[in-house]
């Protein structure tokens, strides 16, 4: 019997997955509760309780309506948007790592981020009428830019009705470079608008509201459901394409659907929250260590874990410094970067 060190992470006890589901689910709920509890404006526990009870009872409240508004219309949608965004990035990251069979794949790989940046920077550097900004033109442009960039990369990578995954990777890099150049060009010639664009590029959940949350959650939830349904197909794609085809997988359809759903989720997240690093890269790795690589479980738990991580990162971003918010991307990178290094260190030699 060949029982050794390599076998340790192998033994997948039957209750490991349910335990992970339960634990991560509780962590997510607890994160949301804690994150709603704290903010820059202190609201006492009693007041929070009264606000929630009064709102649920439909009663007019005795609490300062400003506090109710902060709790229910600013903080709650902000926290939920963080959860949805984290879930979107982690799910998309897990799916693309599977599709590309590359542990370094992240949701921004195929041009989503640079496309979104071009859209956002464009609308932020050319001075548009204020009503357009109020109508969400920046988010719309970021979304269109993201989807557009992925479409271009896909178009470049397709030949004869098939999509070559390595070509897609290269096309994504090229599209990202071009997008980066366009963004830089726009910023260079509109230096006076650089702060507005910079604020978007830093990313974050400030100024979220229920309407924005709704616009983001819809595509994210739809894509996440789609990706989870594609889980078994992503497992098969870990073999070579002939083998997957021989097992009855419509390989081309599975690839396109994976890229489509992952990009849709990422585009929706990025359009609302800007570019937030590391969540989509790190969260799937953590989940993989916990429950193994099978994609259906991996995708669902990545969504839950990514959501919780983002909620907590945003909480830290909001309350860490007395004088104001940190960009949440700084927090995710500060936690995710060292974590990722530790992960690589502990698994050195195991990554072929």
């Amino acid at each position: 019997m060949n029982v050794g060190v390599l076998d340790r992470p192998v033994a997948m006890s039957a209750y490991r997955v349910p335990v992970a589901f339960l634990t991560l689910g509780l962590v997510l709920v607890a994160s949301v509760v804690v994150a709603v509890g704290f903010g820059r404006v202190p609201i006492s526990a009693a007041d929070q309780l009264a606000i929630v009870v009064d709102r649920l009872g439909g009663r007019s409240s005795t609490i300062d309506p400003r506090l109710a508004s902060i709790l229910l219309e600013i903080r709650l949608p902000r926290v939920l948007l963080a959860a949805v965004t984290g879930a979107a990035l982690a799910t998309a990251g897990a799916a693309l790592q599977g599709l590309f069979r590359n542990p370094l794949a992240d949701p921004y790989l195929v041009g989503v981020s640079s496309g979104a940046s071009v859209g956002a920077v464009l609308t932020l550097t050319i001075a548009l009428p204020p009503t357009l900004y109020a109508a969400g033109v920046v988010q719309l442009a970021a979304f269109v830019g993201a989807v557009g960039a992925v479409s271009v990369a896909l178009l470049l990578a397709r030949a004869g009705g098939r999509t070559s995954v390595p070509s897609l990777l290269l096309a994504g890099v090229a599209v990202a470079a071009i997008g980066g150049a366009v963004s830089s060009y726009l910023l260079f010639f509109h230096g006076e608008r650089i702060f507005a664009a910079y604020a978007w590029l830093l990313g974050g959940f400030n100024a979220a509201d229920w309407a924005l949350l709704g616009r983001v959650a819809l595509p994210v939830v739809a894509s996440a459901v789609g990706l989870v349904a594609l889980g078994p197909s992503l497992d098969l794609l870990q073999l070579d394409e002939d083998a997957a085809k021989a097992l009855g997988l419509r390989v081309e359809g599975a690839k396109l659907a994976t890229i489509g759903f992952a990009s849709l989720a990422t585009a929706a997240a990025v359009s609302a929250a800007g570019l937030i690093a590391f969540v989509g890269l790190v969260a799937p790795h953590v989940i993989r260590i916990l429950v193994g690589p099978e994609h259906r479980t991996l995708l669902v738990l990545s969504a839950i874990g990514g959501g919780a991580f983002m909620v907590l990162a945003d909480l830290v971003a909001r309350i860490a410094l007395p004088e104001g918010d940190l960009p949440v991307g700084v927090v995710t990178a500060a936690i995710g970067g060292p974590f990722f290094l530790a992960l690589l260190w502990s698994r050195r030699g195991q990554l072929a």
Binding site: M12, P232, D235, L239, D242, A246, G248
Partner: protein
């Protein structure tokens, strides 16, 4: 004109103006094992991929039980026809033997359902290849021989009428190679139609019912083992063959190694 099983009729596969296969006609019925032999680049793998439906013939046709292969949906095809090139398969990290064998049941479920690691046929396939003790082990921690058994167990689980295998014994030591070929032979005896691409001519003669020699994109001959023209076989492969008889079967040895 076109019989049962998988039938290729006067098919051409061309890339640009180069013919990978030229005017090929071949039939694989159930309950038989054919071995496809030939030099590297002769078109053996192309022929197998044509039979699997991965390639469209530019002329001619490929049919499965009378229906054009391209008209058969991916799922149905995968329930009737298995294909594997074990030597070319990666062993994705972290998956258990049971999970990977379960993937082979993909076509037996609706596409969104998890693959069938919990199916009875997976348990049977694992048991039949004597993998029960390894079922929860990670694929990437197995030896080459163990992993070969996993792929064969997968083909058992896939439970198809026809099985196509590209070089199933390369990278295997003689023990595992013989073990694999015995398993594959037993499938044909039990009623499946099996085609394998092999470089080992002696092994081909030992297990196959028919030998198909591919040379330069054409089928040079397609003969029952007893009638294989060994002189032509040797000439086309550029080696000299010595015929022997073992356990009542024709076998061959390659000459030219050793001696002067």
């Amino acid at each position: 004109m076109i019989g049962p099983g998988i039938a290729i009729h006067r098919a051409w596969v061309t890339v640009g103006d180069r013919a990978l296969l030229a005017d090929v006609t071949l039939q694989l019925r159930q309950r038989e094992l054919i071995a496809i032999v030939g030099r590297n680049g002769a078109g053996k793998s192309t022929l197998l991929r044509l039979m699997a439906g991965f390639l469209e013939p530019s002329r001619g046709e490929v049919v499965l039980e009378g229906r054009p292969l391209r008209a058969i949906a991916a799922g149905e095809r995968a329930r009737r026809l298995g294909f594997l090139a074990p030597a070319r398969l990666p062993s994705p990290a972290g998956y258990t033997v049971r999970q990977v064998v379960g993937w082979m049941r993909f076509a037996h479920h609706s596409w969104w359902r998890a693959t069938g690691a919990d199916d009875a046929s997976v348990a049977y396939a694992i048991a039949s290849l004597e993998l029960t003790g390894l079922a929860e082990r990670r694929l990437d921690t197995l030896s080459d021989g163990e992993r070969q058994r996993v792929w064969l167990a997968g083909l058992v689980a896939q439970d198809t009428e026809f099985v196509l295998l590209d070089e199933p014994t390369s990278h295997l030591d003689p023990t595992h190679a013989i073990e694999s070929l015995r398993t594959i032979r037993s499938w044909a005896t039990a009623g499946r139609g099996v085609a394998i691409v092999l470089h080992d001519l002696d092994a081909a003669l030992a297990v196959a019912d028919r030998i198909v020699l591919v040379d330069g994109g054409r089928i040079a001959f397609d003969e029952p083992v007893a009638r294989v023209p060994l002189d032509e076989l040797g000439r086309r492969l550029g080696i000299r063959l010595a015929e022997i008889t073992l356990d009542g079967r024709r076998r061959v040895l390659a000459q030219g190694l050793g001696g002067a």
